[in-house]
Amino acid sequence: METTAEINRVDIEMAPGSTGIFSMLSGYGFFIEAPAGISVNALLQKKLGLDAGYIEKHIQTILHDGKPVDDIDGWKIKEDSTIALSAALPGLFGAAFRRGGKFAALRPREMPAESGRHPENDAITITVKLFNLSARELGPQLLQNGIQMSAETFLSLWKNILKLDRGKSLNVLLNGNKIDPHTLAESIRPVNVLLSVLTH
């Protein structure tokens, strides 16, 4: 994780009911710090604030560095790895990659995910990606608290947000100062962005 000096702080205020940004977060990874050796289940519950019932019902596919995870308690997450969460998905792909492995035989034979080895340091950084309904449902709380992502990721997310012409209806602050949404991209310095979104 970067020091505060290397972080661009972007605060977005938007009108109530405009939930689009939360959905658009889908696929754009953000960073989370967690204790070394944390299990997938503990990450979901303790770091993302999900309860067991929600996970069971709504998080149907979990990918760790792109490989499907079935055993969320036994699975330990590696330093610098990516955890992606998705709601139920259609088709043969959805069935093959669904948690629980009923159709796991449809995956490649040599593709079981590697469980993480415990690194020596105490805290690790994990990239989290929320997809589809999980982004829509979890996005508001996470974005209210603020999420950190690479400047590169933020800029491509921002490009998509602006494409919707939402720039007009957004109030944007960069490092506490109001900024024209259309000039924001030029003012973002490299490394990371701490993004928070508030609805009023």
Binding site: G27, G66, F93, N132, D165
Partner: protein, 579 residues
């Protein structure tokens, strides 16, 4: 729906038609019926564009009823693309209307002696067949507008664009949707070329005066339909994910899993995936006044489709679905949904299969005809097809022909048909289905995941080495069964997880037709249809050597997971050993 309409287009005399009882084909609908007619009446070795081939258009067993999800239609023939039997499936309004007019199938036969182009109108008053030279080389959108002017706005149309008239192997048959737009297509295998070879540009369906088909046991049918709809609504895939984002909900996750074929199947991840994802697509549609949740026909309760507006808020096309977004997007390195939507519109207008042409452009880009990522170049290449230039005709003949013409080895086809949007190295069971499907590379052949519920071929141990082969086989049987009911395949998710929803589906069919089918009967039907199709292909000259993926999938490791296709040829040969 107890009769078959046969329209003979020649060569002896003017086109004529006959109506006959369904006879031996009773109890069959959709793919079951198209494949049974083709297998019985078309010589497997005939030329696909010759007079002996037939084009069969068949609604499902519940077509023209109030049953939810029952408005899909099957189009069958010998395929000019694969050389084998073909069933291509579509949504749209015509299936319901053909059913209400009492037809289990419309069969186009023969071939006109002269180079004439016909329009056919089918209504309660009968069948009118007339030559209409004005329609020559018109796009589907123009054709439908002309038909509306001529016959009013209560009609539905089944038509071909320029590609079908040119008899190109990637051409489609278009079906109008609820808004009377030709945006739903029986797309795969060049079915449009067969319609073109019959000299038929458009079939206008007018069901004015026809009534809804009534069930043998109305109360039981109503109750079963209600239970079926409840099951679809409460399931997370059919009740939440598909309505919210459509099938394009898959882009982000398939990409994250490293199975998203990118740059003509060179790698499994595309950097621009999030920009073309279903989530982003839904937001753009909402912001522009389009509709992210819409049905492809009346009676669909899942509504995985949508309406795409351009930047100025005007209708451009229906919501491009996952396979289309992939074919024109990641596969060609294009990350702009407006470009993809424009390509979809052109495809629909010319009547070209989005998967086949997307894969073809990927091959063309690899050959250096354009740069990967160049959206305008992709649009220009598709326009070549519409214009019928020599290059356009090569591209419109599909990925295999284009690969041969430009000397490219990496051509993602099986039985000459382009692979859809899942790399078989990352989803190996999909690779088994691509390789062994009677249709050529086809994701929907094993799309339905009802094997354990349907109990086809016994229960499967997913961890056993033979698991992929056995699952693929069972899924192909189950899919053939659902295709034969005329139900949208997306019901499979709810049916898989909720036995009561599967029972409700069987109850609907039984209550409507006065039958006593069991789950075993339905699965036996799927197996029977698959056998009919494999027998046809064998007689057409196919052997086990055709049930293979191109070699490079076994040799070139796919990033990021560095996997190759590991299912052996011997295992592939066992897929249909029980038939």
């Amino acid at each position: 729906m107890d009769k078959i309409l046969r329209i003979n287009m020649g060569p002896n005399g003017e086109p004529s038609y006959t109506t006959e009882p369904i006879g031996d084909f009773a109890g069959l609908g959709g793919r079951g019926l198209t494949s049974a007619i083709i297998a019985k009446e078309v010589p497997p070795t005939c030329h696909a564009l010759g007079e002996e081939n037939k084009l069969v258009i068949a609604p499902g067993l519940l077509g023209g009823t109030t049953g939810a999800m029952s408005g899909r239609v099957s189009v069958g023939c010998k395929s000019p693309l694969t050389g084998g039997i073909k069933e291509a499936n579509s949504g749209g309004q015509p299936a319901q209307m053909i059913g209400r007019l009492g037809y289990a199938a419309i069969v186009l036969e023969g071939k006109p002696a002269e180079d004439k182009l016909y329009k056919i109108r089918i209504s309660t008053e009968g069948v009118e067949i007339a030559a209409d030279p004005e329609l020559k080389m018109k796009g589907n959108y123009d054709v439908v507008e002309r038909m509306k002017k001529e016959y009013g706005d209560k009609i539905a149309c089944v038509s071909i664009g320029q590609a079908g008239e040119m008899k190109l192997a990637s051409s489609t048959v278009a079906f109008t949707d609820m808004e009377q737009r030709p945006a739903r297509h029986a797309a795969r295998g060049g079915v449009g070329a067969v319609m073109g070879s019959k000299g038929v540009k458009v079939i206008v369906i007018d069901d004015t005066g026809a009534s809804m088909r009534s069930p043998k046991d109305p109360e039981k049918f109503k109750a079963a339909n209600r239970a079926f709809v409840d099951g679809l609504k409460k399931h997370p895939v059919t009740g939440e994910g598909l309505p919210a984002y459509g099938t394009n909900v898959l882009t982000n996750v398939v990409n994250e899993a490293g199975g998203y074929p990118t740059y003509n199947f060179k790698t499994g991840r595309f950097k621009g995936a999030a920009a073309i994802s279903g989530e982003n697509q839904a937001e753009i549609m909402k912001a522009r006044g389009g509709q992210p949740t819409h049905g492809c026909h009346r009676g669909c309760v899942i509504r995985c489709s949508g309406i795409w507006h351009d930047k100025d808020g005007h209708y451009l096309t229906k919501q491009p679905e996952y396979e289309t977004v992939w074919a024109h997007g990641g596969n060609c390195g294009i990350d702009d949904l407006d470009v993809i939507a424009m390509l979809d519109r052109l495809d629909d207008d010319y009547g070209i299969d989005t998967i086949e042409i997307g894969a073809t452009i990927g091959v063309a880009m690899e050959a250096g005809l354009a740069e990967f990522g160049d959206g305008q170049a992709a649009i220009n290449l598709v326009k070549e097809v519409g214009k019928g230039t020599p290059l356009g005709r090569i591209l419109g003949s599909g990925a295999a022909v284009t690969g041969k013409v430009f000397g490219i080895e990496r051509v993602p086809v099986v039985k000459n048909q382009a692979m859809p949007a899942y790399d078989p190295r990352a989803v190996q069971g999909m690779g088994v289905t691509y390789a062994t499907s009677t249709m050529g590379a086809d994701h929907t052949a094993g799309y339905s995941v009802t094997a354990n519920i349907l109990g086809v071929g016994g229960s499967v141990d997913p961890l056993a080495p033979a698991g992929q082969v056995e699952l693929s086989r069972n899924l192909q049987y189950a899919t053939a069964a659902i295709d034969s009911t005329g139900m949208c395949l997306f019901i499979a998710f709810a049916v898989l997880d909720q036995p009561e929803t599967f029972q409700a589906l069987i109850d609907m069919i039984n209550a409507f037709h006065g039958l006593e089918l069991t789950a075993d009967d339905v699965t036996a039907l799927g197996k029977k249809v698959t056998k009919i199709e494999r027998d046809f292909n064998e007689k057409a000259g196919f052997t086990n050597k055709d049930d293979r993926l191109p070699d490079y999938f076994k040799k070139e490791a796919l990033a990021p997971h560095n996997v190759t296709f590991a299912v052996t040829d011997e295992d592939l040969d066992t897929v249909f050993a029980d038939l």
